[in-house]
Amino acid sequence: MALTLLILFPFLGGVFALLAGKAEATAARIAAAVFLICGLLTLAWVVQHGDSGRWIMQSRHAWAPALGVNIILAIDGLSFILVALSLALGLLTVVLSWNSTDRAPLLHAALCWTVAASNGVFLSFDLVVFVFFWEMMLIPAFLLIAIWGHANREAAAMKFLIFNAIAGLGLLAAVFWIGATGPTLSFDAFEVAKRDIPVAAQIWLLLGFALAFMVKLPAPPFHAWLPDAHTEAPTVGSILLAGLLLKTGAYGLFRFPAMLFPEGMHVLAPWGMALGAFGTIYGALVACGQTDAKRLVAYTSVAHMSVVLMGICGGVHFSLMGAGIVMVAHAFSASALFLLIGAIHDRVHTRDLRELGGLQRSAPRFAAAFALFFAATLAMPGTANFLGEALVITGLFQVNWVYASITLVSLVISVVYGTRLFQRIVFGTARKTPVSLDLSFRELGPVIALAIGTLLFGLLPQFLMFGLDTAVNSAVDSLNAAAP
């Protein structure tokens, strides 16, 4: 029941925000925040009362037994970290949009529903229910871009929807195939994992799953929706896109291929690594030439998430652990960069790097915060980003030194785009005078929270590693057992 509440609380938060917002806008914000906090409290309760084994908690409710569909929820360290991340980012975006006046109740509802759907993704182990949440996630995200976005919002929202909806078809087809070909009509992932699926079938099924996950990740050449969506989305939308939606793709890749199709993974993992290696260089190179600050950060996301892809496909303990840490670290650093760039956009109404500059003098607090997350994007030691990337590289050295070297090269290129972003905004003379100078307290709170996360997990990664350990171990064991 507690696990259901983790999905239900944010969902109800959205419903109540919408209902309460009709009467009073403040009530909508409070409803959203309260329900998200209830979600976080539930999560704390789950850990208090959970097991210390492979799964912290599992639950199973019949839904449509005749169709073989049941609500199977389970939480382990990986899911726990991601659910905590999604609830926390949801709360953060609600705080950030606290004073928004444009259809605020609907905005808060959309934020809550994004959180609810992604929590569903992180917790579901019945494949049909998983697909349900996977597709449901698109709707509030689509609304966020299409309603509250910038000038080209409709086109960007459509692009986002089309890319992801088409990719979702691969997942849907694979899931139905699994259900239809099993000994009994069942979509239970735990039961599917025990099946002996022929390798050829595994490869096709894995391709179907991977299509959905890679588009969401995004891995080139399926990344084109991301720069547009990030650029056009409002700040809170960009934060949820970078912090949550991309992570659902990474989570899917992390969880299901090794669990359900380990033999297929052995065949396809080298291709995945090659794609990731290509993507990390490609994303970094394209980022170097951007003039729109948000677009630049979007392309760095492509580069960093490609590192995650490499880590997952590396399939060894270090690389998987590193991939998990990069996921969390990137959620913090990319969210923070979007927040800060959004703050600039609110004040000077441009994100064009050629027109910005001089915030060193006009906004020192902003400059300090920007410097920290600039360092995180470069994977400076001391930030969680470094730890994750270093672990991925270590793992890749065990698998294939070429990919490890390519990742190191991308670390060098990261300085080129990082300094471009940083010095064009912070250094130089101000070309546009900001209206109100420095970060407000409402922005400072989330920035400090994200900074603490980045540094805490960078310097004391034990919390994160402890959580990821079981999921990493079971993935490695499953892959090793299937090794040819």
Binding site: P221, V286, L408
Partner: protein, 694 residues
């Protein structure tokens, strides 16, 4: 979870933490500091680390180094990652040097940066503190993660400090260049450390180094090469040296801290630390020696032709660290460590003294700005002389001589060729050091003599005096340092010692002979006819310069055509040196080569990927969308207008034609309507008549 056990050894943490606290208080400014408080805090954070460092180092010098101090332990799979600091002889020595130089530079900066805007002052000292903390962390690191943390933070701080003047495009460019180039080196070091971690299954340095030495399957040469690559990039050695001369765009105290004891010297410290791995690979050790020797000679020759005092000192740093690399490469890392200490002292002294003399000078940091130092700033002038003497390595009375002697003796044992190169470096070093000193000794032109100058305060005098005495007297420490690090004083035949002692004097004489006409000519220009040459001068010309110029001319294939080969010889020599070593314009040849080989192709690639020129932005990302669009267009062409729709359209067309023909009846004329009415009535009557027949 972390297993922190409290011991007094954990106080080792205070050394970097004090500077780090200074960074936090100044950087985040929770207390809303005023100028005076900023200064106090700057001094506390800058000098503070020296106190625990002194205590620990003294203990260590007395033979009880505390060794590794574990801080906490992480478990990654089957590996244990134990983060630790350590205090062994090397870290005690280097740590003490760094904290002394750091304290001196920060004390000096308090006066140097007076009059800066409040926010900039805070930023300056915050970054200096962070930088100091990073270097101390790197030096005291007991494991590879902490080592890399310090190493990499230095790169970030150097970027922010070189670009301290954020309104100067040149400074920003220089900072970015330094960051990117050193990051390239950092990536190599990271690879080396991760490979060592995989070999040792531990990150502790005392486990990593033996594991690296014992590494099999061809891993050891790779690791050693990567370590060397990392050190070369950070230490601005050939061929990755081009960032350092540009980095002089930063304020002078920044140069004094970054380019004497920290940052550039960090590469040498790294190699001294990992010397056992290098020693196990003779080929790479030889490569280190050769690169070091080449860099030393190149740097000294380039320093000779600089017109900017900071660029001169930058090339000098490149050259001096080259000699350290040479010493490491011939298997004498202890001598290199001794020279590290001595070099840190005299190089920071030179930067600080030159900065003090040329501060607020209308000529900026041009060499000419040093003129008149004797009158304007006598103490800074003396300090500069002491530093230059130590850099030149004047025998016995300067510290530089002692450490150079030790290194030269070690190089002798590795073969005469490297020794000759090292000797030539010593001659050139003495020549450029003397040249700089001679410029400083010149009286200022009358126009500049009256310029206003702030008088020296204790903040500048104390560091200058302290470092000045150090530059002269620290020579007595060279032998103890080498012993302390577990090495032997290298021995070499007496004649080599004698030759090595003559080398700096020869260099000084050479510089005198080349006559510092005006500092703003590229070098000691050809002498003009007016002055009468002394006897020594003439003897030198005949014996030394003339044969050398002949050789040069022969090498260049030039003969004849010049009226006064002897007179113009030195100038030609310089022009030749410049052309070959430093390129025709100030940025040296390698710099331009890199721009053409790496920077421009990179920019081109980025431009192309971003659609400059072709108009296609992010070609790959648009591939799926374009494919879909093309498919849609193809389908549309085949099907449009669609089959069913075609039938509907036909019906529509038929209706339309009926309507248009029917419309013709509607003429609106009365007679037509009348006719139609008559016709219709007639027709109806006919019809009725016809029916009536039934």
């Amino acid at each position: 979870m972390f297993g922190i056990v409290w011991t007094t050894d954990l106080l080792l943490l205070t050394i970097p933490s004090i500077a780090l606290t200074g960074f936090m208080l100044l950087g985040l400014d929770p207390l809303r500091l005023r100028a005076f408080e900023i200064r106090v805090l700057a001094i506390l954070g800058g000098v503070g680390p020296l106190i625990p460092m002194l205590v620990f180092a003294t203990e260590c010098f007395h033979g009880s180094c505390i060794g590794a101090v574990p801080i906490f332990t992480l478990v990654v799979g089957e590996s244990t990652v134990a983060l630790a600091l350590q205090l062994d002889p090397l870290s005690a020595l280097v740590g003490l040097t760094v904290s002394i130089i750091g304290a001196a530079v920060i004390l000096y900066s308090v006066a140097y940066m007076a009059g800066t805007a409040l926010g900039d002052l805070r930023r300056f000292f915050a970054l200096m503190h962070l930088f100091l903390a990073a270097m101390l962390t790197m030096v005291l690191a007991g494991d590879s993660i902490v080592l890399f943390l310090g190493w990499e933070m230095m790169g970030l701080c150097s970027y922010l400090l070189i670009a301290y003047n954020t309104t100067s495009a040149q400074a920003i460019r220089a900072g970015r260049k330094a960051f990117i180039m050193t990051r390239f080196a950092d990536a190599m070091l990271l690879a080396a450390l991760l490979l060592l971690f995989l070999e040792a299954n531990s990150v502790r340095l005392d486990a990593l180094i033996p594991a690296g030495v014992a590494a099999q399957d061809g891993m050891r040469p790779i690791i050693a090469a990567l370590l060397l690559g990392g050190a070369i990039g950070k230490s601005a050695q050939l061929p990755l040296h081009t960032w350092l001369p540009s980095a002089m765009a930063g304020p002078t105290p920044v140069s004094a801290l970054l380019h004497s004891a920290t940052m550039v010297a960090a590469g040498a410290v790294l190699l001294i630390r990992f010397a056992p791995i290098l020693a196990a690979e003779p080929l790479l050790q030889a490569l280190t020696a050769i690169l070091g020797a080449a860099t030393a000679l190149f740097g000294a020759a380039s320093a000779l032709v600089q017109q900017d005092v900071k660029r001169l000192l930058a090339y000098s740093s490149i050259s001096q660290i080259g000699t350290m690399m040479l010493s490491i490469g011939v298997g004498a890392p202890q001598a290199a460590a001794a020279h590290f200490v001595v070099h840190a002292i005299f190089k920071s002294l030179l930067f600080l003294a030159a900065g003090d003399i040329a501060h607020h000078s209308p000529q900026g940091t041009a060499l000419a700005a040093l003129r008149g130092a004797r009158q304007r700033k006598p103490l800074a002038f003396l300090a500069f002389l002491a530093g230059a003497a130590s850099l030149a390595g004047l025998p016995v009375i300067t510290a530089g001589w002692w450490s150079k002697e030790a290194m030269l003796a070690a190089v002798w044992s590795a073969g005469p060729i490297l020794w000759v190169v090292a000797l030539a470096t010593a001659v050139l070093t003495a020549a450029y050091a003397t040249r700089a000193a001679l410029v400083a000794a010149q009286p200022a032109p009358a126009a500049e003599a009256a310029q206003d100058d702030s008088s020296d305060t204790g903040y500048t005098l104390f560091p200058l005096a302290f470092l000045g005495f150090g530059a002269l007297l620290a020579g007595g420490l060279v032998n103890p340092i080498i012993r302390f690090l577990g090495g032997d004083m290298p021995h070499a035949p007496a004649f080599t010692l004698a030759v090595a002692a003559i080398a700096p004097i020869a260099g000084a004489v050479l510089a005198l002979a080349l006559a510092p006409g005006a500092a703003d000519t590229p070098m000691p220009a050809a002498r003009t006819g007016g002055r009468r040459a002394s006897v020594v001068d003439r003897v030198l010309r005949v014996l030394v310069i003339q044969p050398f110029v002949r050789l040069v001319r022969w090498v260049n294939g030039q003969d004849g055509g010049v009226e006064d080969p002897v007179g113009t010889g030195p100038a030609r020599l310089v022009v030749w040196l410049r052309r070959t070593l430093a390129g025709p314009t100030a940025p040296d040849r390698a710099d331009r080569l890199y721009k053409r080989a790496f920077v421009l192709p990179f920019l081109q690639l980025v431009r192309r990927l971003n659609g400059y020129g072709s108009g296609v932005v992010d070609p790959l990302g648009n591939l799926p969308a374009r494919a879909v669009l093309r498919l849609q267009r193809a389908l549309a062409d085949a099907l449009a207008p669609d089959w069913i729709d075609r039938w509907w359209r036909r019906i529509g067309a038929a209706l339309l034609s009926i309507w248009t023909s029917a419309r013709r009846l509607q003429t609106g004329r009365v007679r037509d309507h009348g006719l139609a009415m008559v016709a219709g009535t007639a027709g109806l009557l006919l019809l009725a008549w016809g029916y009536s027949w039934h």
